[in-house]
């Protein structure tokens, strides 16, 4: 094979890089879900846990437009229950600690949403 060594070496490096995340992933420690402090008085969030876990950012995005732009500030959930649309006054009244709830996952996932540049966290601002 003409240039056989270079081709094979190239392929080996290519596959090594392609599989590196998986190989390294199994070598390092297992990902563990962070332990969140859940609200004391409420059992259920406005939607199911699964929904909130995966969709809360989209939901908040829609909440913002509904409240601010459409002037519709009451949300009816899938079970027909009504909630006032407000991050500060609805979400954060139950989740009384940003540090023990929001930050836990956000830090783990390496995301820093800028909600808190304006919205006041329940702990207050220091």
């Amino acid at each position: 094979m003409y240039n056989g060594f270079a081709i094979v070496a190239g392929l080996v490096i290519f596959f090594a890089m392609l599989t590196a995340p998986f190989a390294l992933g199994t070598m390092t420690k297992q990902y563990k879900e962070p332990e969140l402090k859940l609200p004391k008085n409420e059992k259920e969030c406005i939607e199911s846990t699964e929904f909130m876990r995966t969709e809360h950012m989209q939901l908040l995005n829609e909440w913002r437009d509904w409240a601010l732009r459409d002037g519709k500030r009451t949300y009816i959930n899938h079970k027909g229950k009504e909630f006032t649309i407000s991050l500060q006054n609805t979400c954060m009244k139950c989740h009384a600690s940003k540090a023990d709830f929001c930050d836990k996952c956000h830090n783990d996932a390496g995301v820093s949403p800028y909600c808190w540049d304006c919205h006041v966290q329940p702990e207050g601002l220091k």
């Binding site: 890089m17 995340p21 601010l68 002037g71 996932a109 390496g110 304006c118 006041v120």
Partner: protein, 256 residues
Amino acid sequence: MKNSRRTFIKLAGIAAAGLAVAPKKALASEGHAPVKPNSTAIHAEHWAMVIDTTKLHTAEAIDKLAGVCHHIHNVPHIEGKQEVKWLWHDTYAHTFPEQENPHLAEEVHERVFPLLCNHCENPPCVRVCPTKATFQRPDGIVAMDYHRCIGCRYCMAGCPYGSRSFNWGEPRLGLDLEKLNPEFPTRMRGVVEKCNFCVERLAVGKEPACVEASEGAMHFGDLKDPDSEVRKVLREKFTIRRKPSAGTEPSVYYII
């Protein structure tokens, strides 16, 4: 290795570099818009305000109302040119430059006048805003979506009344964090802000805070409803609006 998920993502990025990009997952929309206005909200076809300057014309009285407004909306207190204001006061000459005359009654000339965003019927600030961060609601209120504002300040150039303030610095440095209103957000550096006609209060059935605190010197109501309080005072009293030649049709009227 500490942050294993991050490391994985970084490596995956390198690995994926040579590969075709997977098609983006389209956001599933369920097609239900499960929202409605608050049941306690008050509505109007076009909100308007009438300010009786025979009753409200001293700096102290106006500053008191500004204090209420600025407190509930977490408006930062900054001295000097970088000041942020939703409600403030100024002289006759600055308030009504086109309606001045050399023989105006002295008493009127010496008054100071409460100023705020006029929620114009034909708002130039809305027209020039490139992001639609400033928009007009169907009820006439010229509102701002601070999430969208990119701080270009076209709206400040467009507004003939100086009704908007730009946050040059971190607004929270100008706030007493102990006395924050926890129900209302603050703003961030680099956005414009202004009076919002208290939309958050209208949504729960309350009048604007300045109107409530004005002890009858300010009226608020539906301009399109002939039986409303504002139409009643407009019928009975002589009123003027600011800078008529700008053609913006302010929704704030002044009884002189």
